[in-house]
């Protein structure tokens, strides 16, 4: 830092890109976190692009012969039946809530998950703010809340996956290829090849997109725990050190929240 300070004194303002200064006024660690997040955004975009093509090359429910026999879109929506011929309406599929077996509660659980993740993002930014004040106890408190929020989200996702894989009581009748012929069979739940909710890519996209996001939440929680340990050990209170590491994991954590915002819209709402 001392080196760059002497260098700026002798150089004019126009030579900001010619070395000796920090053009972005951010530490290398923070910049690298930003660039990592940018590359990670491309990875998630790849998944969303694949999802976009897979989904819209399938007919939508409202364009199907079955839905067209009803007088209005509203009635067709109410009489929704899943089929592998068209993409399902997400709110008809994600309608379960723990301990409320068999009740129709569309998108309530995923709404709760969204709320938990946004809330944990808020506690993370409060931890960063406390870090600026070098208030160790506050940083510890808010980081613990963030870790708790992350773990709760992961628990919710585990339940959601279990429900998705196990399926409903009713199941759905599908044509299954067995012993050289197509057989009608009632199937429950989903795997990568067949599912009771819609065409195979529906479950495939669900597993890859929410799975990859869940993996990010999981690694975020791990990194948060490591940084929390460092905070609790007083490492960032040592002379010459600061709480910037909390800010860096904060960036990662907000990114995870950001991705969920997109997944929520494109997978559950649209």
């Amino acid at each position: 830092m001392a080196h760059s300070a002497t260098a700026t004194e002798t150089k004019s303002k126009t030579s900001v890109w010619f070395g000796g200064t920090e053009p972005f006024k951010a530490s290398w660690g923070k910049l690298m976190m930003w660039y990592f997040l940018l590359s990670d955004a491309f990875t998630f975009s790849g998944l969303l692009v694949a999802y976009a093509v897979l989904r819209f090359t399938k007919p939508s429910y409202y364009e199907s012969e079955y839905a067209k026999q009803f007088a209005s879109i509203k009635e067709a929506g109410e009489k929704f039946v899943s089929s592998d011929a068209y993409w399902p309406i997400p709110e008809k599929i994600f309608d379960a809530f723990p301990f409320f077996h068999g009740q129709y509660l569309p998108l309530v659980f995923v709404g709760l998950m969204t709320f938990i993740l946004i809330m944990s993002s808020v506690t993370m930014v409060l931890a960063v703010e406390a870090g600026h004040r070098r208030h160790r106890a506050d940083v510890e408190k808010w980081m613990l809340w963030t870790i708790l929020g992350g773990l709760t989200f992961l628990g919710c996702q585990a339940w959601e996956w279990t429900h998705f894989i196990t399926g409903t009581d009713k199941g759905a009748v599908r044509d299954v290829w067995m012993n050289g012929e197509w057989v009608k069979q009632t199937i429950h739940g989903a795997n990568l090849f067949i599912n009771e909710y819609g065409p195979a890519p529906f479950a495939f996209c669900f597993f890859t997109i929410t799975g990859f996001h869940g993996f990010h939440v999981f690694s975020g929680v791990l990194i948060n725990i490591i940084v929390f340990y460092n905070v609790a050990m007083g490492i960032y209170d040592r002379p010459g050190r600061n709480y910037e590491m909390v800010e860096k994991v904060g960036l990662y954590w907000h990114f995870v929240d950001l991705v969920w915002v997109f997944v929520f819209t494109f997978f559950y709402l649209v």
């Binding site: 951010a26 692009v49 819209f56 808020v122 930014v125 703010e129 600026h132 929240d257 950001l258 649209v270």
Partner: protein
């Protein structure tokens, strides 16, 4: 953000500055609540999808600008992050439209 209070002796902490954080939280909360309201009241269609995408971008703006603090960074950094992202978001949107176009082609071929 610079660590302004680096020379504060332990035990004497400045007051927390959390007003903007909670304001951002309430914006995110209300936009999400509105999305739910629309999901149950508005008939499905292109307009609803566009509103959802627009609201997602609003939420994304507040998360990136305030929580990730990008709004308060140097212009060069803002552009370095935003410009590639805008192109890739365009790619996602383009592929949604492209998927629909492929669908039209394929299913009309079958009908003939």
């Amino acid at each position: 953000m610079a660590y302004v209070y680096e020379n504060v002796p332990p035990g004497q902490y400045p007051k927390p500055q959390t007003k903007v954080i909670w304001k951002t939280f309430w914006i995110l909360f209300f936009v999400t609540a509105l999305e739910f309201l629309l999901a149950f009241t508005m008939p499905t269609g292109g307009l609803r999808t566009s509103i959802f995408v627009l609201m997602t971008l609003v939420k994304a703006f507040y998360i990136v600008a305030e929580f990730m603090h990008l709004k308060h960074e140097v212009k060069g950094l803002v552009y370095a992050i935003l410009i590639p992202t805008i192109f890739v978001i365009w790619l996602i949107g383009a592929m949604f439209i492209e998927g629909g176009s492929i669908y039209d082609l394929v299913y009309n071929l079958y009908k003939k």
